[in-house]
Symmetry: C2
Subunit: 83 residues, 2 copies
């Protein structure tokens, strides 16, 4: 059994409005950072998984993302596996 | 002027309790993913910045993180710059 560290990045799809990002952008402008042109806010989920096989892990985490970690209607996700 | 895509990962410090992560972990276990041993939830902020110099960008984003994007008391951040 090996331990895998998995990073899941969940972002809103590019066509979906991001009010939280918009608020961050406005706040940055108010602080004087006027070279920032866009800001979008997503989620970063880190998992620790014990399994025997890396390909298993990838498949399962994809599954978790579809079922629980992301909303596939409005969000995209990227899974990165480190050991 | 070049356009930089900057990714900021904001995570709770390891010593800080993460109730949101704990909830995700319980939900994953309830769905049958019992090989997941830990889950932590952070933020992923993507910025688009126009500037002439990459080293400027890194410095400014570090600054933004300290002032607005993270809470340095309980959170760590990592800045990654892509072009």
């Amino acid at each position: 059994m090996r331990e895998f560290k998995v990073k899941v990045e969940v972002k809103l799809k590019p066509v979906v409005l991001d009010p939280q990002g918009k608020t961050v952008l406005t706040a940055l402008h108010n602080l004087g950072y006027d070279k920032v042109e866009d800001a979008r806010v997503g989620k970063l989920i880190e998992l620790k998984i014990t399994d025997s096989d890396a390909s298993n892990v990838k498949e399962r985490v994809d599954d978790m993302c579809k079922k629980l970690l992301s909303n596939p209607v409005i969000e995209d996700f990227v899974v990165k596996i480190e050991e």
